[in-house]
Subunit: 438 residues, 2 copies
C-alpha cells in the first residue's frame, strides 16, 4: 500500500503538463486525500527540448516508446497525445505490456473503442476515459455507475466548447461567424484549423462514447447525422432570441422503438431549458432516464487544468482498483454490448425554424407556403422582414417556424425551396428542441 | 461471481418500495448491466400488513430486527427507515454483524456520521450514502471520486425540494407563503408537519455531509447558521424579480483563510446563475474547485423512484467491491478528517436586500439611512413604494440593497431598525449571492 504507483505519460501538451504538475507539485495533497502515492516515471514526447507549462527533470522525457513500455515500474500509462493511429498502437502495446491505460482521446475511442476495450479485457487490464467527454465534469462515471439503475431514453449535450464559444459571442457581440471564430482563435478557444470543432466532428466523437454507455449499445460514429455551425448567421441567432430560443451545437442520442437516433447539429433550445443557458466554452449534458427523470451536468469541457482533474480522478480510481472492477463488472462498453440499431434517417419529428431569402417581388410567400404545404408541413409562425434598404438587390428574409415535422420532410422542402424561382439565397433549417420530450 | 448477493431492507416506504421493485421486477436488466444478481431477503417494517406501492411475498416482511441481523445470507443492509436513534442502533448492529450498509439517512449522518463511519471501519465494512443528498443526482461520488484532484473552495446548493417548490410556486402563482405551502402539501411535496423542510433543518443535514466531503473536514451540524423560508413574503420575491434575483433556500459551505463559513438561508441569486433557474422540487449543487472551476449538478432531489436510483447505484458499487475501496482508501469522511475550524459568525460580506415597513410619516427614510450609515452600510439602491391605498394604517414598504456588507453589520442594523419609532413592521434581510465569488 505504501509502494508508489508508477505512472508514465504519452504526450505533454496542455493537459499533460497539468497532470504532471498534480503528480509532482500537488503530490502531498493528493496522497492525503486518495491514500495514493504516485511516481511519475516517463513522459513520451516528440521533442523533449520544447518549452512547456511546467519544468520537470529532463531525465523524465523520452522520445522512445519502448523505454516507457518496457519500464516494469510503470503500472499506469496515461495517453494524452491525441490522434488515432499512433495513439492506438501505443495503447494496445501498453495493455499488452500489462499496464492499465487512462486516455482523454475521444477520437480514438469513438473510432476504435471496441478494439481498445477488447484488448484491455484480453490482457486483464482496464481503460479509463473520464477525460474524453466534457473535460473535468465527472460525467462518464456519474452515468456509468451513478445512473446504472436507470433506463436512459435520451442524452443531449453541448460537447464542444469551441462551437459554443463562437455561438455565444456572435449573439453577445452582434458579430458574424467569421468574426467570432477569429475571436475564439485569439482567445485560445479555437485552433488555427477549427474544422474538427466547428464541423461537429469532435462533438460526434464524444457523442459516440456517451451514446454507447447511456444506450448500452455499441454505437457507430458513422451513423451520426452531423452538421456543423458554419452556416449559422447572426440573423438566425437574433431571430431565435426573439422566439425564446438559443442556438447550440447539440449532440443528441435518443432511443425510439425503431432504433437509436444520433445527431450533432445546430439546434434551437428554449431558454427555459438549462442547456440554453450554457455559455462560452462551458459544456453540459442532460440525461433523461427512468426512473431518474432529468439530470443535468455542467462544467468546463476543455482546458489543460480541468481535463487534468478528470485524468487524475481516473488515476486514483485505477490505483485503488475501482476502475478495474468497473471495467470488468459493468456491461456498458462497446466490446460487450450489442451493436446499436438505428432509426431510419429523418424519421424524428420536432418543430423547425426555416430561414430563406426571397426576391423582393410579389408571390414569394405564397410559393413558399405552397411548397411547405406540399410536404405536409404545418406553419406555426411566419415573419417577413423588410430587406436592408441600402441594398436594392437584397433578399427579403422570411422566417418560418413549423409545428412538429419529420426531419426528412423538412429536408425535402428545403431542397424544393432552394429551387424556387423566387428564392434568392438558399434556405437554412434548424430543429427546435421539443420540450415535451423532456 | 454467480452466487446472488443477499440484500435486506430496513423500512419500506416510498423509497424502499421502489428499491424492492428494482430488485425484483427489474432484476434482469440490473443483472445485465451490473453483472450482479441480488436476492431480496428481509424487509424490516413496523406493520407488515400496511398497503404499499409494491406487492411482495409476505414472508419477506418481518418486524424483528434480529431476524434480519442474524441472517447469514444478507451481505448488504439498506437503511431507509429515517430517524436518528433506532436507525443508528440498527446500522451499528448490522455493521457489527458483518454487513455493509447503504443509507439515505441524512439526519443520521449529519449528527452521528463520525460514529457510524468509525464503526464501519472498525468492523471492516463500509457505508455508502449517495441517496442522502440530492436524491437521484449522483453527486456524492462525483465529488468524492470525480473531483478528488481539486481543492474545493465553495459548494452551494438547493438541497431541499419542498422549500424550493414553495418559493417557486409563490412567485409563479402570485401566492402567499401559506397558500404555496398548502399547495405543496396537497401535491405531496411537503409533509403535514413541514417544519424540518421549511426551517432549513433538512438542508442543513445535507450540507453537513456535503461540506465534509468537499472541505475535507469533519463539520458540525450545530455550527451551521440556519434560517428558514417562513418569513419570506411574496413581495420579497417580486421585488427580487425586478432586481434580477431569484430567492432560494441556499445551503453554502465556503472556505476562508480564517475557517469555514456554513449557512442555510434564503438567498437572492442573480438570474444569470444556473442555481437561480432551479424550479419546483428539483435540487442542484454548484461546486467551485481548483483547478476545475465551476461545476454544476442538477436533478430530482426527492421522490421514491429517484432516490431508489441512488440506492441501487450504491448497491452495485458495494456488491462489486468499489464502495469498500472508496470507503477504505479515500480520506474524506468525518472519522478520518480533522475537525473543521469555523470563521467567526457574520464575518462574510456580500450585498444584502433589506425590506422594512415604515409608518407613513415624514422622516422615515432619513432615519433608516442614518441607522444603516451608523453601521457602515453603504446603500446601493433604495426604493419606497406607495402603501396600499385601501388600508390607511398600512406600512410603507421600503426596499434597500446594499453594497457588500458583513452579515453581522446587517444583523446589528436590522436590530436597530426594528427599534426605530418610525418602523411599523419588522425588517427582513436577505443576502445576495455575489457572483464575483464564482
Amino acid at each position: 500500500m505504501n509502494a508508489p504507483i508508477g505512472v508514465s505519460l504519452i504526450g505533454c501538451g496542455a493537459v499533460g503538463a497539468q497532470v504532471a504538475r498534480m503528480l509532482t507539485e500537488h503530490a502531498d495533497e493528493l496522497r492525503q486525500t486518495s491514500g495514493c502515492r504516485f511516481e511519475l516515471r516517463n513522459i513520451l514526447v516528440r521533442d523533449p527540448s520544447r518549452s512547456r507549462d511546467i519544468t520537470l527533470p529532463s531525465k523524465l522525457f523520452t522520445t522512445h516508446a519502448t523505454k516507457l513500455l518496457a519500464d516494469a515500474g510503470t503500472q499506469i500509462v496515461i495517453e494524452l497525445a491525441g490522434g488515432t493511429d499512433h495513439a492506438k498502437t501505443l495503447i494496445l502495446a501498453a495493455l499488452l505490456a500489462g499496464k492499465d491505460v487512462i486516455t482523454a482521446n475521444k477520437a480514438l475511442l469513438a473510432l476504435h473503442g471496441r478494439e481498445v476495450f477488447a484488448a484491455a479485457r484480453k490482457a486483464g487490464r482496464c481503460v479509463a476515459f473520464e477525460a474524453s467527454v466534457c473535460g473535468g465534469v465527472p460525467l462518464i462515471e456519474a452515468i456509468r455507475r451513478g445512473l446504472i439503475a436507470n433506463r436512459i431514453d435520451a442524452v443531449m449535450g453541448i460537447l464542444n466548447g469551441t462551437s459554443n464559444y463562437i455561438l455565444t459571442r456572435m449573439l453577445e457581440n452582434n458579430a458574424s461567424y467569421a468574426h467570432a471564430l477569429a475571436e475564439a482563435q485569439a482567445a485560445g478557444y479555437a485552433e488555427a484549423d477549427p474544422t474538427l470543432d466547428v464541423s461537429g466532428g469532435d462533438a460526434a466523437h464524444k457523442l459516440t462514447i456517451l451514446a454507447g454507455i447511456t444506450m448500452r449499445a455499441a454505437c457507430d460514429f458513422n451513423k451520426i447525422n452531423v452538421e456543423g455551425i458554419e452556416k449559422i448567421e447572426l440573423s438566425d441567432l437574433t431571430a431565435g432570441d426573439q422566439l425564446g430560443y438559443r442556438c447550440k451545437l447539440l449532440a443528441i442520442a435518443r432511443r425510439f422503438d425503431d432504433g437509436l437516433d444520433l445527431s450533432v447539429q445546430p439546434t434551437f433550445i428554449p431558454t427555459t431549458h438549462p442547456l440554453a443557458n450554457v455559455s462560452g466554452p462551458f459544456n453540459a449534458v442532460s440525461v433523461y432516464g427512468h426512473p431518474i427523470g432529468h439530470t443535468f451536468f455542467y462544467g468546463r469541457g476543455a482546458g489543460g487544468a480541468a481535463t487534468a482533474s478528470a485524468v487524475v480522478a481516473d488515476l486514483v480510481d485505477t490505483a485503488i482498483g475501482n476502475a478495474r472492477r468497473t471495467f470488468e463488472r459493468l456491461v456498458l462498453l462497446p466490446d460487450q454490448t450489442p451493436a446499436a440499431t438505428y432509426r431510419p434517417t429523418g424519421e424524428t419529428a420536432c418543430p423547425h425554424y426555416i430561414r430563406v431569402g426571397l426576391r423582393d417581388q410579389p408571390g414569394g410567400i405564397g410559393k413558399l407556403a405552397t411548397v411547405l404545404g406540399s410536404h405536409g408541413i404545418s406553419i406555426a409562425t411566419i415573419v417577413q422582414h423588410e430587406p436592408p434598404q441600402s441594398v436594392s438587390s437584397a433578399a427579403v428574409p422570411v422566417i418560418v417556424t413549423t409545428h412538429p415535422t419529420k426531419e426528412r420532410s423538412v429536408r425535402a422542402a428545403v431542397d424544393d425551396i432552394t429551387r424556387m424561382d423566387v428564392t434568392q439565397s438558399p434556405p437554412i433549417s434548424i430543429p427546435v428542441l421539443d420540450e415535451r420530450e423532456s
